[in-house]
């Protein structure tokens, strides 16, 4: 299963022409890069907030595995033991890396 469902991403890009595609790709990379740091924040409120944001964004752009990981972490919330949280956050960040990589490849295909 790819990090981003290409069919969903294609639907989003179809809403506009090349400029929207390029602008959106760049914005997505920027947002996911920001969230990659924010989900591991020492500030629990900020981390929870970022996880919630990842859930909405990932689902919308077809990063379905990431959306599921974020949903799991978001729903467990404060009940989660610190060690378990660390594991889940590490998994989340690793999946964000995969999404960023997929976005970079998608961006590269525009220029090809």
């Amino acid at each position: 299963m790819p990090a981003i469902d290409p069919a969903i991403l294609a639907q989003l890009f179809a809403m506009g022409g090349d400029s929207l595609r390029v602008a959106l790709c760049a914005q997505l990379r920027e947002d996911f890069t920001r969230l990659h740091g924010a989900v591991a924040s020492a500030d629990a409120t900020e981390a929870a907030r970022a996880t919630h944001e990842v859930k909405g964004l990932a689902g919308t752009v077809g990063a379905l595995r990431l959306a599921e990981l974020a949903r799991r972490l978001d729903s467990m919330g404060a009940d989660l033991a610190a060690e378990a949280r660390l594991v889940l956050v590490a998994g989340l960040r690793s999946e964000i890396d995969s999404v960023l990589q997929a976005l970079t490849m998608t961006e590269g295909s525009f220029c090809a």
Partner: protein, 464 residues
Amino acid sequence: MTAPASSDTILLIEDTPSLQMIYAAALGRAGFAVAACGTAAEGMAAFRRHKSTVVLLDLMLPDRSGLDVMHDLLAAQPQTRVIVITANGSINKAVEMMRAGAHEFLVKPFDDQRLIAAVENARKALRHSPADPKGPADSSVPAPFIGQSRAMRAVYAKIGSVARSMASVFITGESGTGKELCAEAVHQQSARAAGPFIALNCGAIPVDLLESEVFGHLRGSFTGAISDKLGAAAAADGGTLFLDEICEMDLNLQTKLLRFLQTSTITPVGATKPRKVDVRIICATNRNPLEEVRRGRFREDLYYRLHVVPIHLPPLRERDDDVNEIAERLVVQMAREEGRDFVGIAPRVRDLFRSLPWPGNVRQLINVLRNVVVLHDGPMVTADMLPPDLLGDRPVPVAHNGERPALTLGDLTGRTLAEIERIVIEDALIRHGDSIPRAARELDVSASTLYRKRDAWDKAKRPQ
């Protein structure tokens, strides 16, 4: 996908920039004007500015809870339809939001069809809402006007009142303020709407042809009259005749127009019998008509005959945030026409637009936006896309911006009088964005004189 019936701007408050971009693109593609904001504070400011009746609101915002924002929106404007968007899809949350007054609850992720359907449903609900006797905020705006400023609301009210009568309407306002649109709106709201609307620009027709254009002529009545011609007055029979730039009309023809207004009859050039016509007259000028009367260029009796109900159209710079409402609507429309992706105007450009003097008014704004849409691509209009001459305080195109130095006496030395006249006229035309009436006003000659001169220069250029 149906286009929105009202000019209302959809307010989108979403703090994730890429989601904001996706939702705005989906709405823009469906023909909605969108104002997108990333914080509660920005959202409330935009809400006050646009008085949006449909708001897409993310529940989790960086500076305030979306629930509090919704309370404020509904308190300020109870008919507002708030569509809550959230990644928290719990039933408890949905019930809490609906109880608090949300119109709909969208759980992320949702596709563009779901988003558009929610907005369209909200707009439909607004139209049928008994709780909102006034309907959507812009329901009283006559098409194709855009804008909710106080000054324009007064204009709309006047159009509505005068449309029902037969009184002559005299529209004044700077060039590009929409005088012809105003005349059409009066016609469309009148009992004559099914009849013809005939517009004639008195400043664009050479003086010796104007009489024939207004009243028509019979075949053979003068050299070149090879067939009968129905004039504008006869063509408007049963409808409305709009005479634009009325102050450019020759004094002799003003006398004939007055006779027509007094008797409701026309006599085409070369005819012996007058013909009765039923026409409502609306006229317009960008000059001060009373001043023209004082200077002896406009007949006083004709002025009082025509100036029954005056409507003054305010310049764009005096229309509060209308400039941005117009820009948001037009940029989406132009983007569709030109195959571009623009969905809105960047905040910095909005501020800039509010501060510009817009000497060419809406016509200038349209030209600027067309320039941007043709030469650039979206999704937002940013400051670097604007034509460089926009920041000057002259009408487009700016003449003395370095590319073309100001005219000096040295430029005229050694020239013939005819050459000097041409240089001065062309310089005035450039400085007035090629507007003959404005250049004519500065040079204190009639516009028809300039049209005639330019025609002569064009003819001289053509190969024989």
